[in-house]
């Protein structure tokens, strides 16, 4: 699905990502984790072609991604980004309808029946039909995130990139969003790359984790393989204890406060 070869990119001659080599076949939910400033968002930006690589190449479905037109990329790859402007006066349905833009020609001024069906389907899948007529400004954080995902689904992508979709949400909404992502992955065969800050959520929901550190790919593998306490302590420079979750058996990371450290 997506093959990244020796990717180096950054802003203003400063390199944020160095020599990233990853092959993502697509049948897994891939989580990208790492400390702040380790290049997680930059990786998503490079894949969605917001920034151009300095060197290296990326192949999407076997084709060099830089040779595909922006519009076609937008039909295949959708992004749920963290710092997107949300036009608060727009209605939910109109907003989700913007996701159809890559499928419409310059001279198509109205939505076709198919456009409307896809938008409706995206609303249904994300459970946002009930507030399709409300304006974005009146939604809660969790509802807004669902709507943003619905807009991405309206693009009918094959690959969905999510940049910290659970940030600022309470646990019920975190779980709701990630359950939705897993469900979409299963039912729609949608490939997922998701940046997550919360290591335990990443462990629970992702099949494979990419651990970035200082712009380099530090470790790549299953959660059991990546979430080793020695690796976490090395990369995050924080003492942790890793135990298996009593629910799923996946690794669970526990922080060790200073007081506890002094006691033990």
């Amino acid at each position: 699905m997506l093959e990244i070869k020796k990717l180096t990119c950054g802003y203003n001659q400063q390199f944020f990502l160095k020599d990233i080599d990853v092959n993502l076949p697509g049948e897994q939910i891939v989580g990208v984790i790492g400390p702040n400033g380790s290049g997680k968002t930059t990786l998503l930006r490079a894949i969605s072609r917001v920034i151009n690589p300095v060197s290296g190449s990326m192949f999407f479905e076997g084709r060099d991604i830089n040779l595909i037109s922006g519009k076609e990329v937008a039909r295949k790859i959708a992004v749920v980004s963290q710092d997107m402007d949300i036009p608060s006066e727009l209605q939910v349905e109109e907003f989700v309808g913007l996701g159809r833009i890559p499928h419409q020609s310059r001279f198509q001024f109205f939505q076709t029946k198919q456009d409307q069906e896809v938008v409706m389907q995206a609303l249904e899948e994300t459970g946002t039909v009930k507030f399709k007529d409300r304006v974005l400004g009146s939604l809660s954080g969790g509802e807004r995130q669902l709507v943003v995902i619905a807009k991405a689904l309206a693009q009918q992508p094959k690959l969905l990139l999510l940049d910290e979709p659970t940030v600022f949400l309470d646990i019920s909404h975190q779980v709701e969003i990630l359950d939705l992502i897993r469900r979409l992955h299963k039912t729609q065969k949608l490939s997922i790359i998701v940046v997550l800050h919360e290591l335990n959520l990443a462990s629970e929901y992702c099949d494979r984790l990419l651990l970035l550190n200082n712009g380099c790919l530090h470790r790549d593998g299953t959660p059991e393989h990546v979430l080793d306490y020695r690796i976490i302590e090395q990369v995050y420079k924080t003492a942790v204890v890793v135990k298996d979750s009593p629910v799923s058996g996946k690794p669970c990371v526990f922080v060790v406060p200073e007081e506890e450290m002094n006691r033990g």
Partner: protein, 338 residues
């Protein structure tokens, strides 16, 4: 979707009727009383011997047409710029585009090039001046390959100041008989004797609307921010360049023919956004109609308020537009607290 189209159609018809109504009022009002039925007769029989014929066809009708063209061009430019930058304060004036156009036209007038090259030199000079300012503002506010909106507004305002100072400099060294004309023109007036200029502004503003409409989806995508637009496959750099160019030509043409008419590009798109929504598919058309109606209305007011003398229409649009804008801000706060 169906209801939305109906909603849009209702707005277009409504604004069209308002435009028609205001145009008729503009035709019948003035220092000479000409009744509506007489105007109909003039249109039917083309009675050249009737003294009212020339008042209608050589004074009032050209003004209405020019008001339509300039009002619509300025509103479209405002919609385009506000859509690109997602900022309600951006318009041809705040970005210094009008200032550049004024400077361009002043230079032509002071060197008397319009006598040499013909009257077409004025709109071309205006557009070139506008384009130069846009390029300057664009490069001044480019940081790390991205445009920063604060930088854009600041450099726009500064360039606007520089341009108006240069215009004053030109006026200070100019022959007295030219100064009077330029001052009146700068204050904004729809009085224009050249049918050629009136026709060309009309054509340009209609083409401008058409071109802008082809970019309505891109403008809608820009509401998600530049990165959001890129994620939807919009080629943001090229689109921005084309739209900048379009806004400069529209502004340059308007300024060179009708002078500086402020507030139309700021107030009209703002209001239309409140009433018809921010979808550019309707916003562009609605703003164009409303801008035309607004300017024709203001011009009629300017003609009759201290008749037989005339006020510069820029003064009226400034005062009316500013007051209505503040009123709308207060009302909006009361209604939905945003």
């Amino acid at each position: 979707m169906k209801t939305k189209v109906v909603h849009w159609a209702v707005w277009i018809v409504l604004l069209g009727l308002i435009l028609l109504g205001i145009s008729i009022i503009a035709l019948v009002s003035g220092t000479t009383d000409i009744s509506f039925s007489e105007i109909i007769r003039l249109f039917q029989y083309k009675d050249l011997s009737n003294p009212h014929y020339s008042i209608i066809f050589q004074i009032r009708l050209p003004r209405i047409l020019l008001g339509f063209a300039v009002g619509s061009a300025l509103s479209i430019a405002g919609v385009i710029l506000q859509g690109m930058f997602r900022n309600p304060l951006v318009e041809p004036y705040t970005l210094g585009i009008s200032g550049g156009a004024v400077l361009g036209v002043c230079l032509i007038v002071v060197f008397r090039l319009h006598k040499l090259l013909g009257v077409i030199a004025l709109p071309i000079a205006g557009s070139l001046g506008a384009i130069c300012v846009v390029l300057l503002v664009y490069f001044l506010s480019m940081r790390k390959g991205m445009i920063k909106i604060q930088g854009l507004l600041l450099s726009g305002v500064m360039i606007s100041f520089i341009c108006s100072s240069l215009v004053m400099l030109i006026m200070a060294v100019m022959r007295a008989e030219d100064v009077h004309g330029i001052i009146f023109w700068i204050m904004g007036s729809l009085e224009q004797s050249s049918w050629f200029l009136i026709n060309s502004v009309t054509v340009v503003s209609l083409i401008g609307l058409g071109v802008a409409y082809c970019f309505c989806r891109d403008l809608n995508a820009f509401s998600l921010g530049e990165e959001g637009a890129k994620h939807l496959g919009v080629n943001t750099e090229t689109t921005k360049k084309i739209l900048f160019l379009l806004a400069s030509i529209l502004t340059g043409m308007s300024v060179s023919v009708a002078g500086v008419i402020g507030f139309v590009g700021l107030v009209i798109p703002h209001f239309m956004r409140i009433y018809v929504g921010s979808d550019h598919r309707i916003l562009l058309v609605a703003s164009s109609l409303a801008g035309a109606a607004f300017l024709i209305g203001c011009d009629t007011l300017a003609r009759i308020i201290i008749a037989p003398q005339e006020l510069p229409v820029g003064v009226i649009t400034g005062i009316v537009g500013g007051i209505v804008f503040i009123y709308a801000l207060i009302c909006k706060k009361g209604v939905n607290k945003c």
